[in-house]
């Protein structure tokens, strides 16, 4: 079946790899904060794009609603909310502006976008996928990022129960992936970086995890050597 799939944060890293992987078989609507003309240069040619900056959560959800209306989607099958940001710092010297940006982009905007997607996902008994992180367990130099991802995990757990039978809700926690996020966050992985999965491998693991619908699910290096980027069920 050709699905209608919304992917946020699709202009870079994991989201872009996922959009690129799925575009030949499905109808993709990508979002990001980049201007449309810049996004179109990197996205697959047949993917749609709407600009949805998430730093103001209320604007983000309003823009998503408007964008879905404009492309004429009256229902769709998957919302995969990937957009995320974070900064490395010491807890006691964290800039409140960045702290708030991290919470707004990763947690508040994602929550409000999920809410905006409900009526259209419900029409197809569709699936909402949130992207957490293995860092949701906590880590000292990215405390706000960890908090935002843990918040998503708690949200997904409760919402999955609330929406049972209407829209299936899942959260997937990727392990480290070699994307521009680390550089944007001010983090240099050093030798450890050799263990990071590639965005396209993570995209394959994500596709299979979305097709299965289990939650919560950690997508780590161990799953990868277990063959989960090759043998999974396709969407």
């Amino acid at each position: 079946m050709r699905r209608k799939i919304l992917i946020t944060g699709a202009t870079s890293g994991i989201g872009l790899a996922l959009a690129t992987r799925l575009a030949p078989r499905h109808e993709i609507l990508a979002t990001g904060r980049a201007l449309k003309k810049d996004a179109e240069k990197i996205l697959p040619a047949n993917a749609g794009y709407i600009r949805v900056p998430q730093s103001d959560p209320l604007v983000a959800s309003a823009t998503i609603r408007e964008g879905l209306r404009d492309v004429g989607w009256t229902g769709f099958h998957n919302a995969i909310l990937v957009a995320g940001t974070g900064y490395v710092c010491e807890a006691q010297s964290e800039d409140p502006v960045r702290l708030r940006e991290t919470l707004d982009v990763n947690l508040a905007a994602t929550i409000l976008i999920a809410r905006a997607c409900l009526p259209l996902l419900e029409k197809t008994n569709g699936r909402l996928t949130l992207i957490g992180s293995t860092a949701a367990r906590g880590s000292s130099h990215i405390a706000s990022y960890c908090a935002s991802k843990a918040g998503l995990a708690g949200f997904a757990r409760s919402l999955r129960s609330e929406w049972r039978g209407r829209v299936s809700v899942q959260i997937l926690h990727p392990g480290p992936v070699a994307t521009p996020m680390h550089e944007k966050a001010g983090y240099v992985p050093g030798r450890l970086g050799a263990l990071f999965l590639s965005p396209s491998t993570m995209a394959a693991m994500l596709e299979f995890a979305v097709a299965r619908g289990r939650s919560p699910r950690t997508l780590s290096w161990f799953r990868y050597i277990g063959g989960e980027s090759i043998f999974g069920r396709r969407l």
Partner: protein, 247 residues
Amino acid sequence: MKALVTGGSAGLGQAFVARLLADGCDVVSLDRSTADGAANLFQINCDLGDREALDRTVPAIVTAGPYDLVIFNAGVNATGRFEDIPEDVQLRLLRINTEAPMVLAAALAGSGAMVRPSKMVFVSSLSHFTGYPGAAVYAASKDAIAIYARSIRRPLLRLGISVSCVFPGPLRTDHARRHAPENADASQRMPADDAARDILSAVRAGKATVILGKQARIVALAGRIAPRLVTWQMRRFIFEKLSATTW
């Protein structure tokens, strides 16, 4: 000894303030509304859901220190079906429960407003272990603050600040009564004053994780061993019984 308590004018916060005053502490209470005065109580008014107001008030909070103990207690809930709760209410809940304590913790730890050694306490919820259908954004806010507390424990310990996180179950406060299903049994809930007493003694003993009472510890353990089953029970006993949307 000087303590800062957020949300000190009602519920658990009021119980903290009363206990601390009785113990002979100077107490600074940060709240939207003012409570009855007392000799050693200094009140600062601020709406923690309002970013500009909080940023304007931070210097006064820092100046009123330095603190031996800080308790980030202020919190709100919003119950009902997730999609029935207005967006601005959900956003405000995240700001009060998650963002404000994080902004304040960073500001206090980074400005020398904490005595060394001192204690910093975050108040999460037992929902961290169970999930909370019927309050999905509240559950998000409380998971976020629990993991923030865990993340900063080690770096703050190096500054002489010991971080604890409390996971209260249902308390006998107005807050709990407003958000529980209509005919829920209030006698099962812990009186706020008992909770404040037990939390303060656990925090003084340096405990990182504080779960009050045997019943809550059993629930937390069950939530870890059988998360799906426990969340399903929460759905049956809370979500399916909520008759109204409340915030």
